[in-house]
Symmetry: D3
Subunit: 328 residues, 6 copies
């Protein structure tokens, strides 16, 4: 294992002029307002887990185009709410899994909403439960190139919209403090969290570990392992569509979206990360619109900070929410 990209010193010097597309705000305004046509329609059902300190519910809501998105809601067993909440998004290929997979934030006293990524969940872990009920044009195996020839049909248009709706769903719960809904995730989950924070004014804080989907134009050139390579493979076949594909990606590039975010952020980066190279994460961190802190893991690959990072998040979030004026 060696540095996968630039050293920290070289990151500092990196030119971060990116390729933000002209109608980015309009595109997302149009997208989200179309989603508003569908009521949230939150369903909740208790789940038997054999656990005693936590209680789980199978929660779903209407996401993009009203499609049903599934999640687990986890609460401390005897908690008197309303509680601050963490809405968590999942890494590439994973799903919300089994309820017993998700013990973390609720064990720390938060309401925890673990949201499926549509269509994903069958690559690792304990599975997903949310269909992607939309067909697509020709794609490379994986999710990265579904509908990639047009920003209106791109897979992540649906996913990011689902995420904004998940925040809204969390805010609607009686057990949750609507002014303390945070978003979190690692890798793809971190990217979705950053997107949600950029597109939702109501997010209280964002914790994004080794986020994916950032600075696509650079990532495609320097990343030799999956899943950025799905797009490279697509373009190695569809040699005529390079500009069209890059234009689509520009509208979903987290490094383009984050200047719009305002909530405090804790971002982590691993200097030996071969999946989400440090420079791409760095761009998201440096261009982030709100106050941002960075955790650097100098000797880690894409596994990043794992529980070390969660420990830091527990402290950071607790301090944030209990700071003077925090609940204002």
């Amino acid at each position: 294992m060696a540095l996968s990209d630039l050293s920290l010193e070289d990151l500092e010097k990196l030119d971060l002029t990116l390729h933000e597309p002209a109608g980015l705000d309009e595109f997302w305004a149009r997208t989200l307002s179309a989603a508003d046509a569908h009521p949230l329609d939150v369903h909740r059902e208790p789940v038997v887990t054999h656990l005693t300190t936590l209680r789980h519910e199978d929660l779903s809501f209407a996401g993009y185009d009203g499609h049903r998105i599934n999640a687990w809601l986890v609460l401390p067993a005897g908690a008197e709410g309303p509680l601050p909440a963490v809405v968590e998004f999942v890494g590439y290929g994973g799903g919300r899994g089994l309820p017993q997979d998700r013990l973390t934030w609720a064990s720390a006293g938060y309401a925890h909403l673990v949201v499926d990524t549509r269509g994903q969940g069958a690559a690792w872990g304990s599975g997903g439960a949310t269909a992607d009920p939309v067909g697509y044009d020709v794609s490379t195996p994986g999710f990265m190139t579904r509908g990639i020839l047009d920003k209106d049909t791109y897979y992540y248009r649906r996913v990011f919209t689902d995420a904004v709706r998940a925040v809204r769903a969390a805010r609607s719960l009686p057990e949750v403090r609507a002014d303390a809904v945070c978003v979190a995730g690692a890798s793809q989950g971190g990217a979705i969290a950053l997107a949600a924070a950029s597109l939702s004014p109501d997010v209280r804080a964002v914790m994004a570990d080794v986020p994916f989907l950032s600075w696509f134009r650079r990532a495609l050139q320097i990343t030799a392992v999956e899943p950025y390579t799905e797009v490279v493979r697509y373009l190695s076949v569809h040699r005529d569509h390079v500009e069209r594909v890059l234009d689509t990606l520009d509208h979903f590039d987290v490094a383009h979206l984050v200047p719009r975010a305002t909530a405090p952020a804790l971002i982590s980066l691993a200097l030996m990360d071969r999946v989400c190279p440090p420079s791409t994460v760095w761009a998201a961190y440096r261009r982030y619109g709100g106050p941002a802190e960075l955790s650097v893991h100098p000797f880690n690959d894409h596994e990043g900070g794992q529980t070390h990072q969660w420990r830091r998040q527990l402290e950071w979030l607790s301090a944030l929410l209990t700071a003077p004026g925090a609940s204002a």
Copy 2:
């Protein structure tokens, strides 16, 4: 490179009692009759290729549920028809490509129809052009597990139906001898060709090289490389769905379908094939309903016989079509 499975001697001794599901015929009868509700609606458009000995058309027809399936029709430039025809299906991840990719059968005097596999085409070659306009439940990256929890929603239900419709479309062309429409393909293309021959009474001959999608229950246990492993990966996550998934696959297992075929077949098998292990191909060959010949490539991996095999096909098909009584 070494034998990937059994030697030829051990193949001969292999027990080929398979797991054909009860309602197989009914399922396909129902599926194909539902497809009949849609007219074929063949569209044709000439294509400029800078070639002089061949002419190409961009041909499409209505496949499963009326979805538009694209193909290239290639004809010898000055041919006076009607000609015998070869309908070719493509290997996993590939598409019909560019017109200039397809010079073979028409150069030998056949009408040649190269049919896209819906949603595929962006993994290798020159691309595909046919969307798969249907959403799916959670799946592993790739096409193998799309809709796999139910035979009615499984991806290959659509693909095999498209293939039957492609044969029908070929038979409808004025340049084609309706009594001499053959099917061909390698790997996934060979499996689709065998399925088409099993489900269409009208196929004149089938040429299937190192066919995929055969004897799933064995293939999943002995194959260590993609794409059978997509299903294994799915089941490694969705540990509770083993029986449901195997039941779905049983309805699309080429080794279950081929006893229904009657057209003469030329099948090839490679003894060092790691992608489609010899025993799985052997099962399709031995259980095939019509007269079948086998080409064995003892020292090849999944590339099989390549042009050596095509040369044999050229001779075999020519002999078949010119045999006394061949056009009866």
Copy 3:
């Protein structure tokens, strides 16, 4: 991914005559009675974790030769004891990690003791905290060959003794029901759990997932990946020491020890496990002395059943402990 060893049908037919060494009982009686010379000397210290539903303590006790062994004790925050307990051992190369790594059994109402494996913890996860204060003869990188030329100096002599002492430490805690101390673990952790159950009369139940260290003589011949290969590498250099090394291993082979166990066991096995091949796990299951159940994961590698298996364990253990006469 394919079957890594025998199919379930072939496992059933496998000859399980093993190579149990003559003085096995005497060796362990001598070893454990020497350990008895050291008082348990349990130390406990509360840990701040920012968690609310659980409380953690940093617990240590005197293991082999009085060496200090560290563990986390995790308890449901407001639990009124005494509680049934699960003593968990860790997989090869891992350590007890951070307190926040360990939320499982206590969230289900158990006292949970997560025990370090001496010297290990720096290969994955969040780290270990227990030294192995003993020097060794020449060894291959790793822990498998430390002191391997003599059963008296072998590394796992210390580790298994530490485990027996861990059970004893758990039984001594006022929060714990001494008649309901169970052991658990996966891979190396599963092997240690089986060893503890075989060497401690007081274990109430054992849950061992894809256990390691079983049927060494076969494992060394059929396993191509780490860590069994550490021993192979050792023997590829020290070609003269084969018999000596195998004799040592015979004294630590879980398949030799388990006939002595009597507590109910739930064991899991994965048919595509390349690290701990199914036949080696099967031997431990079939030779187990008490009532044993087996979970088979047909499409998994060494990750085995993960949370699916834990869910089954939660149900199995709950049923076991609440069965009529369970506390007798």
Copy 4:
């Protein structure tokens, strides 16, 4: 897959001062004039192929030192000549294959001569048919280091001379327009085409895809995959022969030869090419003596542009040959 070398921007800035050896022109003049001592002695024999739109001949001619070099001549079946011609050279390890492998240029109305590379053909494809009847000093497995200690004995001295003779043989055919003989090839074939265009005044156009054998001194340092590595492996053993080997290679370096070429050229380069790194191809393009166009494939490895590139070649060559004054 990532950039394998420099980005396009950095290629533009690259210093292309190379290491052209002193007597390069004299060496090749001497070599080719020695070859002139042998009459071309073209043999032709019809081949049965079962194809109807094309006819194939087994053609051979006397190459270096009069050695017999085999080729396929492919013609549109009913063509009235004389036709423009494409002489094609083959990639490393391949041969002319079977006649049925070669349908491309003749289907577009050209006379097509596919020339074997002596001794090669048994690494992929359908085989070669031309011996290399010359012994060599010690070499690394492969063809790259045969006779490498002296420019007079080096393998490619024979191969490049064979290529010049192949152009001459094509020009001698009655079906061919002697003023419209072009050369083409990919990888090694592209390098041989460039060499032929540099050493033959009579070439009408050259089409070289991802050409090999260019800027050896740089390629040996930056290429980690075969076949440039054959030379590296040779030098890792014969540590004393570095200067001697580099001197030999300097005489066969396509980047040294191409300033002598004058025919229009269409060259392609792939930015993720690990076999023939972009900078080495770039050097051949930039130093090319005649008018040169470049196709860049930004997301391809050594497969380059494949049929996309052929489509471009069809258009480019057609425009070139039909331009006003083209036949002058």
Copy 5:
């Protein structure tokens, strides 16, 4: 690392009926008698090595067709002869190297002749010095398929003849006891040693470690790594030449030749050998014509016994040569 083939128990049961070709003896008689037409023509020249206990000479002799074959002759510095001698052949891709590479047998009091393998030497080690001045038909990179379409042109016909001549050269040296010339080698070197012992009546003893070139028909089917795979690759391309190639190989199969040998043999075999699988070595051992001993290395790959084996050879050979009547 795991067993690469059969266990020792299963080797014992293996059917060793092989495919010895009809005219094998005639072929070799004819080959060797043709070689007899050339005088041995031994040249010797002292070499400066900076060593004090040994002295080296650069020795060459006329091999197949009179081609010059180079060797090192190493002698104990002050030895009073004549000495028993060991003629050593080298593993695939290696050469005699530098004189300083060869200190073993002469340090034990033997005359040591290290013989180059024609054309080889540039793949590892310190190099070779012997050309293979013969051209060949199409071949796969490497030496295994040179001239493979005919037993008369096959590469190893030359190599084995060179080896018989090397024994003769050693016997002709005044420093050497002509009745005590032994042959030795590992891998390819072991195969050549066995061939020399089978084809030369004058060999006193043979020491062959993990010999190559034995039981080709089986080796090609079960070996997944180089260099047996060179032949597989050849046949994967030249699919029509399988029988012709196997017939050629039958004439050079060490397992076919060894029944003719009579000198005592010490052979070694490694049960995890992936290059020369145990069953192929076993065949050579079991079919050996003279008295044969076997060293088994149960946990080694193709490195076999290395110095452990040499130590055994030193003892075995010393005992053999000093046995009562040994010099008769």
Copy 6:
């Protein structure tokens, strides 16, 4: 194989300001003076080897903390002493092996002492014989991280001290010229030799091939293969200990120690070395305190110069020891 790091031109420009720790001299003075408390206590025992030109002894001495360190002493059989001596250290994972492994320097007239590295010897070769009788804190598999949290407990503190003692032991032998004791080794052995030359005033010359353990802070960032990666893996788990670990390593960094050396040095470096990247070796060479020569192997990986380099060492050392005033 490609350049693994910088080219020779770029090495010349590299900034070699390193991170030498404050109390380095004091640390080593304290360490070595503590070792002085133990008498050398050299034991010698003849070994039977069946060799005639050399005689071997099994020699041991008291190393760090009086621990017994084993070595082979090899002498020319009939040599009249006292002789110059070479003390050789071994590469990572290897041991002194069998006596028959070690024929080199004694065959050139030197007394040769081959010293075990404590605890190592079971990863390759013929084995080691020296225990490391010290326990350690948690470590990653391998030797690199044993005791790494504190310079006082670090593994290489013991190893370097053993090496200084080995030089002293060699100087004490009656067969050895005390003013002509040299040190040598490759990789880890080269690093230990450089450390010994830096910490012992009495070394006459040092020959270090592709030395390891140099410029750790850079090596950890740019090396992707073992064994530097053991430290990276440790730090990927123990994320909190980065500074502590780097501080430890600073005290054993050969590039920090060598400015203290004064004996003439011959160092080699391979430009394609992936294990010990050229820049790290370069730092040791450039910062070396005495007169230093560099051998560069431009096309070699970590195997470096092998016998080519030994030939150069034979000449270099002979010239050094016979230079006018050499024995002064």
